[in-house]
């Protein structure tokens, strides 16, 4: 009887947003989730609302708690406190139902390495009580790329191919929500780009996608992102807004001796932060009034040659670095 009433309650929650389809409606709702492993607080009071049909990114370095949060949502871990729902289904009580409507790609390659591409796909289709043909439309674009290798063992595929296969397997049962844990880690740049194009297409088909990544450039491709660090959400917004909200002056600086340059800048009392970004250092001053010429004069005194100092618009990575320090 108890479960019955709970089911009704959850149906009620899910029906309500369904009637307002197309509007802002929560697909994944996370409230005050806490989780600790022994003395380590993996998640501290996380609250997030992810809308239906969003491509939502969890951005943060290793150990930020991204995987833990995803596993809680995937009903694979218990939270210590707080609640979370997936399409209105509670992750603790309704775990059986959630497992039917969600596609999951763990951070580690988790297919059977000693089965071929086709066998893996068939296996997961059977596990979800469906067949490849039934939902072929959904995976067609992705599967076509790996089809030439369909009789190859999954363990022998390249990194990018593996992830495409894993995505196909996660999609085989036409999930309403897709949860991808660092799908592009260890994948070459071209495959990463292709992978994100696929995610965009899936998003257009109305699937809610929650994806985590340590790569800042991928954050720009999400509808909204949550910046995470050490178990906390630093900010949630569209990537464009996050960048716009960055109100500090940022300079790109380079010279012939980058190693000495970063040491000199970091030891100067007027410098706030200095990070290496490719060929340049991205530098902020303690006071925003610190002018480019001040840096230039200081560095010339330190006998840096081929010096370049200029203003640069911030990237999402600068935003993140800035938030981490606050």
């Amino acid at each position: 009887m108890k479960t019955n009433s709970k089911n009704k309650a959850s149906q009620h929650v899910s029906q309500n947003p369904l009637s307002r389809r197309g509007l802002e409606e929560a697909s994944i709702s996370i409230q005050n989730i806490n989780k600790s492993y022994g003395p380590v607080q993996a998640l501290q009071n996380i609250s997030l609302e992810i809308n239906r049909g969003e491509l939502f990114g969890l951005i943060g370095p290793d150990g930020a708690g991204k995987s833990t949060l995803m596993r809680i949502l995937m009903t694979l871990l218990f939270q210590d406190s707080g609640t979370a729902t997936m399409n209105g289904l509670d992750v603790v009580k309704d775990y059986k139902k959630i497992r039917k409507i969600v596609g999951y790609m763990p951070g580690r390659f988790s297919l059977y390495q000693d089965l071929t591409v086709e066998e893996n796909l068939n296996f997961f289709a059977t596990v979800f009580n469906t067949s490849i043909t039934e939902n072929y439309d959904l995976i067609k674009d992705i599967y076509i790329q790996i089809e030439p290798f369909k009789s190859r063992l999954a363990g022998k595929l390249s990194g990018g191919m593996k992830q495409k296969l894993a995505l196909s397997c996660a999609l085989i049962h036409k999930p309403e929500i897709l949860v991808l844990d660092e799908p592009t880690t260890g994948v070459d740049a071209v495959s990463r780009k292709e992978f994100w194009e696929m995610l965009k297409k899936l998003q257009e088909k109305g699937i809610t996608i929650l994806v985590s990544t340590p790569y800042m450039d991928e954050a720009m491709l999400c509808t909204r992102v949550a910046l995470m660090q050490k178990g906390k959400v630093l900010d949630v917004n569209t990537p464009q807004k996050l960048v716009e909200n960055y109100d500090r002056k940022l300079y790109a600086i380079r010279s012939d001796d980058m190693h000495r340059l970063i040491q000199d800048l970091r030891s100067w009392e007027k410098t706030d932060t200095a990070y290496a970004f490719g060929q340049f250092l991205h530098v902020t001053g303690k006071a925003d009034e610190t002018e480019a010429c001040e840096f230039e004069n200081y560095l010339l005194k330190k006998e840096h040659r081929e010096l370049q100092v200029f203003d640069i618009p911030p990237t999402i990575e600068d935003v993140f670095m800035n938030m981490m320090n606050e």
């Binding site: 694979l76 999951y104 297919l111 997961f124 596990v127 009580n129």
Partner: protein, 348 residues
């Protein structure tokens, strides 16, 4: 670390204590058809030697086979009628030693001890009173294994060991492998029920082990000439039960072990060594120190070996092995119950 330093100590102690071919307190039955002073004195001698314990005094006409089938009595000593008279007047008396040779080593040692004690008695005590040369003929009969072939002992033992190894170890390793490879995470996140996951992993090993069991029985009978006196169907059924038991034990191990390494160690430590040492397959349980004897009671192969020996060598039916069968059934249910309780539908 515990394994590296603890294992040698445990093994040394186990081997030292267990590998002990001296027999103590073996259960025997005596059929005294004469009931005279000499037989009584011989009986007292035997029982006071420390090697034998009197389990039963038989009456003439008792079904000897029945005594052995019960499995407790290892040897019967049969004194002929008018033992003392024959010895004194004819200078010759007969005593028959019947031993249960389904464990050939034990049988050989028991009969040697017994005839040694009897002859010693005659030479030392009787010779002082009598002048004539005296002789006691000890006739030794080995039941169930006339030729004292050790293969009779090894076939059931090997069968128990292989089935235990294949079923329990392979299952536990294959399930913990899923955990290690991360595939378990995907399976758990799918709508599959735990029972489906476990059955999927176990069924192939059930078949494999079964083929193994049949092969061992065939090789045992065809090449080594081990008889199957009992019903083959019953033998197969009991093997099946044992395989099920081993599989459920394997599942239990896999629910505890986080990875293949641990599953492997637990299987070897908890299954292989005890099967070899404590099941009575190589070393008679009666010889072990008390704590190990008690420990051997929870070793499933111990009961299985008793069952197969009974069926193959003695040709007994359910009537004589129901207790052992019941123990295996109970063990199976306990293991399954614990596994269900331990199986995690989540990652923690």
């Amino acid at each position: 670390m515990i394994i590296i330093f603890g294992l040698p100590i445990v093994q040394l102690l186990l081997f030292g204590k267990v590998i002990n071919n001296d027999l103590q307190n073996s259960k025997i039955a005596i059929l005294d058809q004469s009931h005279d002073n000499t037989t009584r004195e011989i009986t007292t001698k035997l029982l006071s030697s420390g090697y034998f314990v009197l389990e039963e005094e038989l009456r003439p006409g008792t079904d000897m086979e029945g005594v052995f089938r019960k499995g407790k009595v290892k040897m019967v000593i049969d004194f002929e009628q008018n033992f003392e008279q024959n010895l004194e007047r004819l200078g010759k008396a007969h005593v028959q030693l019947l031993a249960d040779a389904s464990d050939p080593n034990t049988a050989r040692i028991l009969t040697n001890y017994a005839s040694g004690i009897i002859n010693d008695y005659v030479n030392k005590e009787k010779l002082q009173n009598l002048t004539l040369p005296h002789q006691i003929n000890t006739e030794v009969r080995m039941l169930y294994n006339e030729g004292l072939k050790s293969v009779y002992m090894f076939v059931p033992g090997i069968m128990a060991m292989i089935l235990m190894l294949i079923s329990a170890m392979m299952t536990s390793i294959s399930i913990s492998r899923e955990k290690e490879m991360g595939t378990m995470e995907v399976l758990l996140a799918s709508p599959l029920k735990p029972i489906q996951i476990v059955l999927g992993k176990v069924t192939p090993y059930l078949l494999l082990s079964f083929i193994n069991a049949v092969t061992i029985i065939l090789i045992g009978t065809l090449i080594f000439g081990v008889p199957i006196k009992g019903s083959i169907a019953f033998l197969v059924a009991e093997s099946f039960l044992f395989i099920l038991m081993a599989l459920s034990l394997g599942i239990l191990i896999s629910t505890i072990a986080p990875n293949q390494m641990v599953a492997m160690f637990v299987s070897v430590l908890a299954l292989m060594l005890p099967t070899i040492l404590l099941s009575g397959f190589m070393f008679p349980i009666e010889n072990m120190p008390m704590p190990l004897q008690i420990l051997s009671n929870i070793m499933p192969p111990r009961w299985f070996i008793v069952i197969i020996k009974n069926i193959m060598l003695k040709g007994t039916g359910m009537l004589y092995v129901w207790k052992e069968t019941l123990i295996l059934i109970v063990m199976t249910f306990v293991f399954i119950g614990l596994s269900v309780k331990n199986f995690k539908i989540r990652l923690e």
